[in-house]
Each structure stands twice: as structure tokens, then as C-alpha cells.
């Protein structure tokens, strides 16, 4: 595994930490855009020298969607919702970042136990994938604003994508396109949902949506 891949993965990890500490929604959206771009570059770096057309097209599509379209959609939602900050997260920023560190440690330990890395030849890919997934889940659980929960979902998907890159090479193009399209629709649907929630309730605090019980 080459230096390019390792560099990208380290940047991914860093962006996860920043995401855990970000309180401005716009900044958090930009961070996921950076992550999306890294995700787009990753298959190119893994392929190294020669570049099959299939990989190139997919990489371009992924980068365009995750670093372009999704952030644009989410930024619009942030503006429409007129909420700029995650004010009182359910889990504080300091504790979030500490948990992030713990998650990275756990990811490396888990990777050593499961011995994925020996098989695929990449030492960093699987632990980073686990850490990114953990970050995503953490954001979905520990944040109040609906936007941050969507960002968590995107991060989770990014983690799964990295995991897939490490474990399975050559998933048929059709499936990859289908997955991408579904993700696109998911973000789109969530954006609309947030927009409607903000119009109906005058806030996008998902922790306050608790009227249905029993």
C-alpha cells in the first residue's frame, strides 16, 4: 500500500476529529465535503499507476456527489432552517473528541483481532474505516440538530465505503451506481424532511421531537 493512500486515510481521521469538535453547522458541512473529496480520491490512490475507465468514472462521480452536490444541498438546508450552531449537543464537544480517540484505539484493536489487514495488505484502511463509522454513529446519537444527524449518516456511509474498498474489490458498476443513487436520494429526502420540520416546528432540534410515545 502506497503513501498516497496512507496520507488520505490520515486526513480522513483528522477530519473526523474536527467533525466531532465542530459546533458551527456550516463548518461541519464543509468538513464532510472534504471527507467526500478524500473518498473520491481513495480508489485512484489504491489503483496506483494505470487507471481503468470504470474506476475513474466512479471516482469522479463520488467526488462530485459527496464533495459537491451533498454539501450544496445541506448548505441550502442550513440556510433555510436558520440555525447556525449546534448549541447544546447531547454529548459535549470535549467528551465527543475523547470518545473519538477511544474509538480509534478500539478500531485498531478490533482490526488486530479480526485480521482483515493481513489479508488485504493495507494496514490502515480497516481501522480507519471502523473509526469513521464510529464517528458517524456517534454524531447521529450525540447531536440534537437534524443536520448533524444527516452528517453523521454521511460519515457512516463513508466509513462503510472505505471498508468495502479494503475488503471487496470489483463490486459490479451497476451496484455501485445504485448505491450512489440511493445515497443521493437519501440526502435529498432528509434535506426535504429537515426543511419541512423547520417550517412546521420553527426549529430543527430532533431531540425535541418526542410527542409520539407508547
Amino acid at each position: 500500500m502506497n503513501h498516497g493512500v496512507d496520507t488520505l486515510l490520515v486526513v480522513m481521521l483528522l477530519s473526523c476529529f474536527l467533525l466531532l469538535g465542530a459546533s458551527r453547522l456550516a463548518a461541519a458541512v464543509r468538513l464532510t465535503a472534504v471527507q467526500g473529496f478524500m473518498i473520491g480520491l481513495l480508489p485512484l490512490a489504491i489503483e496506483g499507476g494505470e487507471l481503468p475507465l470504470r474506476v475513474a468514472i466512479l471516482a469522479a462521480l463520488i467526488a462530485a456527489l459527496k464533495a459537491g452536490v451533498f454539501p450544496w444541498l445541506l448548505m441550502r438546508t442550513v440556510r433555510a432552517a436558520r440555525t447556525t450552531h449546534e448549541d447544546r449537543p447531547l454529548i459535549g464537544y470535549g467528551l465527543s473528541m475523547l470518545s473519538g480517540v477511544a474509538a480509534v484505539g478500539a478500531a485498531f484493536w478490533l482490526d488486530a483481532r479480526l485480521s482483515f489487514s493481513q489479508d488485504s495488505g493495507a494496514t490502515l484502511v480497516v481501522p480507519v474505516a471502523f473509526s469513521v463509522m464510529a464517528t458517524g454513529l456517534f454524531l447521529m446519537v450525540g447531536r440534537r440538530t437534524a443536520i448533524c444527524q444527516v452528517l453523521g449518516y454521511l460519515t457512516l456511509e463513508n466509513g462503510i465505503y472505505i471498508f468495502g474498498l479494503a475488503l471487496v474489490s470489483g463490486i459490479p458498476m451497476l451496484i455501485e451506481l445504485g448505491v450512489l443513487m440511493d445515497m443521493f436520494v437519501a440526502v435529498f429526502v432528509m434535506g426535504i424532511a429537515i426543511y419541512r420540520i423547520s417550517r412546521e416546528f420553527d426549529h430543527i432540534d430532533a431531540a425535541q421531537l418526542t410527542s409520539l410515545k407508547g
Binding site: I171, S211, G214
Partner: protein, 496 residues
């Protein structure tokens, strides 16, 4: 070959109808379009079903699409839920449109998404590639989010958000599971492009890496289990069903839950074969199934909302099915039969509950009473549907619940027997109390807004037909159906 093109037409017709639904039509015409279009979609799926019946299996698109007895049975259930639901939607929304709650724009979106979800469910059932199956499932998840939220209210938005988040994470987990199963094929020599075809996985199931398949199966159960409403991942379900329009609740409990379970069933024999037929994967299903039954029974006891009652009953029935599939053998057969019975009874329950809620202007069952006399058709229908869902003899659900029990006794799994009977008894009591109160309690004032004209003969027939089927199937299973379910059960495996 004619065979393949049958599957194409079953997929293409609803897809085309979804596009056609974007045309500008009056609301009345659009509702007619919904009914006729759904019937047309069902008709277009029939040739594929018949051919599958005749030949055993049907493939298209170089093996990417495939129908066998198991998926054909699920397609049949899909149509059994969708066609009556569309017919009922026409009545339900005409009522809402008169009250000004169903503007043309909403109607347009609703009908397009209705056919969209039908197409995607069809794709899930006819996909032979696990990846493609996932794509269909995720797409139908997202489409359903909008259908749940057809009428925008604070409640429906909250339910939609909860549903979106829970099921999106669930679907992500399921995808992880599929990746793990793909990774497990490394030593089988299957080329990567076709490794995820279910038929290939089945043929090579002995060679799969057991640890990876086990991990993958767990993720798949968590992921699709969220969608199927297995406890403790069921939280979104009562919220969504109580806030959604009744036809949508009907299709999702009548076939969506089944389809999610179907995705797990496809992976069950793989996990069992790879882990050496020791019953590990089945055990997972039994535990989740029994837990769902117990949790649902608890919530049923305290339930006051008529639609939430039905939603928790869905959780209970999914639990019964999961237990049956987990027991294997006779249990698998019983669970498939139970699925059929549930798909007949549950949508009917939602239809009647929706009509009652419209008549009384509330979902609160404490404010409904004596419905058998006051709203005769829907009231009687609701009471009888609930009785069928309780598993009262001689309905088909009684037969299937009894067979699951028999299977557990035969295997001498006594703890399963005890928990299963306990949960069934609790749920029975909870529903019985409700049935008596809502059916014959004359103390409650009659509904303020009784339907303007009494329902005609067609509605009587509409309510009676599923009930008659439930009764007849409970009394005697036609040989063709019996044989069909038997073959489907053999595909899931576990020895018959």
C-alpha cells in the same frame, strides 16, 4: 425466451405507471388511475408468477433477475396487499379530498410514489444479486418516508424523521453485512462480478469463510430487522403506522415487513451452510422473534390508539414468523403460511381502522364503542380482522400459530414453547379486551360525522373477501398452495 421478459414486464409496467402518474389529472381521475394502475401492475406480474409455478424458476438479465417459489410467493403477497390497498385508497382519499386535506399536488406525488414503491418492492423480490436487492430495499425505504408523510402534520413529520434515521442506519448496516458476505467469497474462486449472485452463493455456501459470513449475517439481521420491525429495532414502526394514511400502513405491514424478512431469509441458508448447519443463524432469529413477541404483547396491553394497536400487532406477528423460520422444518412452513394469513388480515385491519378513525374523527379507541352497530361494515370488519389476528380458530392464522408451536414441541425446545405461549396469551388477552370494548360497548357516543351515504355492496364484498379467504384457508389448504409453500420452505432449507 418468453420467461425472462415476463420479469421485465412485471418491473416495467409499474415503473411506467409511476412516470405516468406525473401527468396532470383531476384528483378523482388520479384516484381511479391508482386503482386501475395497480390492477394492471398485478396483471403484468401474473405471467411471471405462472411461469415460475410451471418451471420452478425463471431467470433474466444473465441471472441478475430470478424468481423461484420463495420469491414468487412473496410477489403474490405483495399483490394481495397492494391491489386492495389501492382500491381502498380511492375511497379513503375521496373522503379526505372532500374535507380539503388532499390537494391535487399531494395526490400527484402520492400516486407517483405509490407506483415507485411497488416497482422497488418488485425489484427486491426479483433480484438475484444481493447488492441489487439492497438497492431496491433502500429505494423503497426512502420512497415510503414520503408516503408516511403524505399529509404533513407535526406528528407525521416526527414519525418520518424517526423512520428515516432508524431505517437509513439499518440499511447502512445491511450494506455492511452484504460487503462482509462478499468478502467471505474470497476463497471460493467465484469471480468478483458474479460473487454476489444468490444462486452462486448458495452453490458455494460450504466454501464461504464462516467467520465473515456469521458477522455479515448479524449485520444483515440488524439492518433488515430494523426494516422488518423486529424488537428492539421496532421503535419507528408504531409512530409511522399511526401517522401514515391507512392505505400506506396497509401496504407496509402487509408486504414491506415481509419483504424485509425475505431479505433475511435469503441469507439464512447461506449462514447456516457456512457455519456448518449447527443452527446458529436460526437461533439468532428465534431469540429476536420471541423478544419481539414479548415486547409487542406488553405494548398491546396498554394501547389506546387504534392504528398503534395494529402496528404493535405487526411486531408481534413478525416475531411469530421469525420464531417459525428460526425453528426450521415444520416451523418454516408454518411461518410462510402465517405470512400469507397476516397479509390477508392486517391490511384489512388497517382499512377498517382507517374508516373508523375517519368516522369518529380520532384514533383513540376509548372514544369508539359499539362500532358493530354504529358503523356496521367497517366495525364488523375490524372486529373480525382482529379476531383473525388473535389467531382464533378456525382461521388460517390459528393453523399457522399452532404449527409453529408444534414444531417447537417436536424439537423439544421447551423454553421456546413457554415464552411463545406466554406472549401469544398476553397478546390474545390484550386484543380480546379491545375487541369487546370497541365492538359492543354501547356507552360511547356515536360518531359525529357518520359517512354521508352508507357503504354499498362493493364495500361489503371488499371487507368480506379476505375474511372468507382466511376462514377457508384455515379449514383446508388447497394442494397447489400447500405444495408451493413446501417448495418455498425447502429453499429456505433446514430440512423439511
Amino acid at each position: 425466451m418468453l420467461g425472462g421478459s415476463c420479469i421485465y414486464s412485471a418491473l416495467a409496467v409499474p415503473a411506467a405507471l409511476a412516470l405516468g402518474a406525473l401527468l396532470r389529472l383531476s384528483t378523482v381521475a388520479r384516484l381511479r388511475y391508482l386503482t386501475l394502475g395497480t390492477i394492471l401492475s398485478a396483471a403484468s406480474a401474473l405471467p411471471a408468477l405462472l411461469q415460475t409455478w410451471a418451471q420452478g424458476e425463471l431467470t433474466a438479465a444473465q441471472g441478475w433477475l430470478r424468481l423461484d417459489a420463495l420469491s414468487a410467493l412473496h410477489v403474490l403477497l405483495l399483490l394481495l396487499a397492494f391491489v386492495p390497498a389501492a382500491y381502498y385508497a380511492e375511497r379513503y382519499f375521496r373522503h379526505a379530498a372532500q374535507a380539503g386535506q388532499f390537494p391535487p399536488q399531494t395526490a400527484r406525488r402520492f400516486s407517483a410514489l405509490w407506483f415507485g414503491s411497488l416497482t422497488m418492492m418488485m425489484l427486491v423480490l426479483s433480484a438475484n444479486n444481493l447488492g441489487l436487492m439492497w438497492v431496491g430495499m433502500e429505494a423503497s425505504t426512502l420512497i415510503l418516508a414520503f408516503l408516511f408523510c403524505t399529509q404533513i402534520t407535526p406528528g407525521s413529520l416526527e414519525a418520518m424523521w424517526k423512520y428515516l434515521l432508524m431505517c437509513s442506519v439499518g440499511m447502512a448496516m445491511a450494506f455492511l453485512g452484504i460487503l462482509l458476505i462478499a468478502a467471505a467469497t474470497r476463497h471460493t474462486g467465484l469471480p468478483v462480478t458474479t460473487a454476489l449472485l444468490w444462486t452462486n452463493l448458495r452453490d458455494a455456501s460450504q466454501l464461504l469463510d464462516p467467520a465473515l459470513v456469521k458477522a455479515g449475517f448479524l449485520f444483515l439481521v440488524v439492518g433488515f430487522g430494523t426494516k422488518a420491525g423486529l424488537a428492539p429495532l421496532h421503535n419507528w414502526l408504531p409512530d409511522a403506522y399511526s401517522q401514515a394514511p391507512s392505505p400506506v400502513s396497509a401496504i407496509s405491514s402487509g408486504c414491506l415487513l415481509n419483504s424485509a424478512l425475505y431479505c433475511i431469509l435469503r441469507c439464512l441458508p447461506l449462514a447456516e451452510d457456512a457455519s456448518g448447519q449447527v443452527g446458529w443463524a436460526r437461533g439468532v432469529l428465534v431469540v429476536l422473534g420471541l423478544f419481539s413477541m414479548i415486547v409487542a404483547a406488553g405494548f398491546l396491553l396498554a394501547q389506546r390508539d387504534i392504528k398503534r394497536l395494529l402496528a404493535y400487532s405487526s411486531v408481534e406477528h413478525i416475531g411469530i414468523m421469525a420464531t417459525g423460520f428460526g425453528l426450521g422444518g415444520l416451523g418454516t412452513f408454518a411461518a410462510l403460511l402465517h405470512m400469507l394469513g397476516h397479509t390477508l388480515a392486517k391490511p384489512l385491519g388497517f382499512f377498517c381502522a382507517g374508516a373508523l378513525a375517519q368516522a369518529y374523527g380520532t384514533n383513540d379507541m376509548r372514544r369508539m364503542g359499539g362500532v358493530v352497530r354504529q358503523v356496521p361494515i367497517w366495525g364488523t370488519g375490524f372486529v373480525l380482522a382482529l379476531l383473525a389476528l388473535m389467531g382464533v380458530a378456525p382461521g388460517v392464522l390459528f393453523l399457522s400459530e399452532f404449527l409453529v408451536l408444534k414444531s417447537a414441541v417436536e424439537q423439544e425446545a421447551w423454553w421456546v414453547v413457554v415464552i411463545y405461549l406466554l406472549a401469544l396469551a398476553l397478546a390474545f388477552l390484550a386484543l380480546l379486551r379491545r375487541v369487546i370494548a370497541i365492538g359492543w360497548n354501547a356507552a360511547t357516543p356515536p360518531p359525529e360525522q357518520l359517512p354521508a351515504q352508507p357503504e354499498g355492496r362493493s364495500m361489503q364484498l371488499f371487507v368480506a373477501l379476505p375474511l372468507v379467504l382466511i376462514l377457508l384457508l384455515g379449514l383446508c389448504l388447497p394442494f397447489g398452495l400447500l405444495h408451493w409453500i413446501q417448495i418455498a420452505a425447502d429453499i429456505i432449507g433446514g430440512g423439511a
